[in-house]
């Protein structure tokens, strides 16, 4: 049933080379914040790569990996918010959106969202420093010029190209919250009852939310979210991410009524759905996921199905937590646009009919995916891991 990657497909030397590359890259990135954290994080990411490569169930390690990144991010973020305090938090919420639109943002706002991707070059450039009382000055080293915007865009585009929808499965800190429950396929009874009630009505047509093969309409909801967020970003001339980033949205709403409505919607969609069942937010709502689903057509890593080996047992339909498979009319299954390359199906398919390939080349692409995902995780989560480390090691953020 299970397949080990390295022993069957490659040698120990390959494994060593891959792990050393991951260790070297991680060390180069993280040593910017100190030798010790550089060594520590490089060792951790090297260990993660090694474990993924030799494990017979790497999909479980993937879950731990992305959850670890998630913990680092939320630890850093919440600690940061705690240090900001309510006064600065409100000011930040209401002003940080203007940062990319002003020529000299620091003089106007003094704040920027620590989640904003614009900070990455600054973070890599070792220029994070904060003066008390909680006044962030690193934007002074980050003028929003076209060169840095292009750099960020290229980094995003490159990651999206390499991983495609795999970003959601390997790196997303929001989807990572659902990792603890993503293997849970049985929703709560109350949830199931309410879903059944909806399904019996005319509204339920096309919205098979509880079956293992949700209707196409349900899968298309995320594209509607994508359209709406893109339109809103265009209309209001803000960055796209700020439209649905929770901090960005709170900044949009001024009255307490709207904030209340928004928080309620967010609680249902963001917290409720992943907890009640599998990652519905990810496959049906997330606009980033929708964009990545479109990008996924170009990504080199592809889940492929060997029709000759497939015995139509449909085990993949049951094990996939993201509804990544759909029955074909003429038998067998096809991969849908919600597959986040968690690889559960690859290892649980009884006939080994499912595999991950580089395009359609008959090679075991997992030995490329695992280190790529780990290196990209090290790259994108730099800021959060450093802040989380500071919090744990030094007892304070800055």
């Amino acid at each position: 049933m299970s397949r080990k990657l390295i022993p069957s497909s490659s040698g120990a030397l390959d494994l060593l080379v891959v792990v050393l590359v991951v260790v070297a890259v991680s060390f180069v990135v993280y040593s910017a914040s100190g030798m010790f954290i550089g060594v520590l994080v490089a060792a951790l990411f090297g260990l993660a790569t090694w474990a993924l490569m030799v494990s017979s169930k790497p999909y479980r390690l993937r879950s731990i990996f992305v959850f670890g990144l998630t913990v680092a991010m939320w630890t850093a973020f919440l600690a940061f918010i705690a240090q900001l305090g309510p006064t600065y938090l409100i000011k930040w919420l209401s002003t940080h959106q203007r940062v990319p639109l002003t020529p000299n943002p620091v003089s106007e706002t003094g704040f920027v969202s620590i989640l904003c991707p614009y900070l990455l070059p600054t973070a890599i450039g070792k220029s994070i420093h904060v003066t008390m009382p909680v006044y962030i000055t690193f934007l002074t080293t980050f003028p929003p010029n076209i060169g840095l915007f292009s750099l960020i865009f290229l980094a995003y585009a490159g990651t999206a190209f390499i991983l495609g929808k795999g970003w959601c499965g390997w790196l997303c800190p929001f989807g990572g919250l659902g990792e603890v429950v993503r293997q849970r396929h049985r929703p709560l009874k109350a949830y199931k009852k309410s879903v059944n009630w909806i399904m019996k009505s005319s509204w339920g047509k096309g919205f098979d939310v509880e079956g293992r093969e949700p209707g196409q309409m349900l899968r298309d909801v995320k594209y509607a979210f994508l359209v709406v967020t893109v339109l809103l970003a265009l209309f209001y001339s803000v960055q796209w991410f700020c439209v649905f980033c929770w901090a960005g949205i709170l900044g949009w709403f001024r009255s307490s009524l709207n904030i209340g409505i928004f928080v309620g919607i967010l609680a249902v969609l963001f917290l409720g759905l992943p907890l009640l069942s599998t990652k519905k937010w990810c496959h049906s709502i997330c606009p980033v996921g929708a964009g990545l689903s479109l990008m996924d057509r170009a990504t080199p890593f592809r889940i492929t199905i060997d029709d000759e080996k497939c015995n139509e047992c449909y085990a993949c339909l049951n094990v996939c937590p993201t509804f990544g498979f759909a029955r074909r009319a003429n038998g067998g299954v096809s991969v849908t646009d919600t597959c986040d390359k968690c690889l559960v199906c690859v290892y649980k398919c009884p006939t080994k009919a499912i595999d991950l390939r580089l395009y359609n080349i008959k090679t075991d692409a997992k030995k490329f995916l695992f280190p790529a995902a780990v290196v990209l995780g090290a790259f994108w989560f730099y800021w959060f891991i450093v802040v989380a480390y500071n919090l744990v090691a030094l007892g304070a953020l800055f």
Binding site: M217, D220, A224, F225, V227, V228, F235, I261
Partner: protein, 230 residues
Amino acid sequence: MGLDTLAAALLLGLSSGVQCTVTCLPLLLTQLTAAKRTVRDNLRISLLFSLGRLMVYFAMAYLLYISFRAFSGTLGNPLSESLTSVLMGTILIYYCVKAIRKKAATNCGVRTQGKLAHLPFTNFAFRANPGRNSTSLLLGIVSSMSVCLPLVALISLSANADLATAFSSVSLFWIGSSVYSVGLALTLAGVSRIRIGASLSRRVGFIGSLSGVMLGAIMLLAGLSALTIL
């Protein structure tokens, strides 16, 4: 005349154009497939169809402008803007929910029986001869008279601007929303067989309609919020 208003009008046209084209697809296809399907013929048909829409848009923009001036008295009235937002949101939600539930008037409100095409909401009919210039123009006119996304856009463009801005905005909206139908006509002229998947068309229609519901909800919320402040 603010550039941001004009840019917004063009964006509105570009964004609602997909929904428009999908909804009007049956009408357009009848016309486009009946012709000889040369680039020139299809371009003529799609432009005449679009021209019919523009004529109605101008007329509606003028009527809406007069109505809102009579209602609010001045330009930029906060009450008018809030009510416009509420109205737009309500119409958008109503129309798009009906579209999702497949109860919307199909073919842009134009009911066709044999060679007869009925005007929206009426029993008046005219003879629709595919490929004829007058038919293309007439279909463009009558298909624009339904309650749909362009109407919502027209309300937003005409209610809170002076007449010159309103007409300019409507023109830009028209250009934005016509891009897709003209593109479709040119594409069809370039291929020997029509291969528009019904499934893809349905999906695009659903995504467009659901987006409309969400945008309508945002407009409604924004309008109500502004009203509570007033």
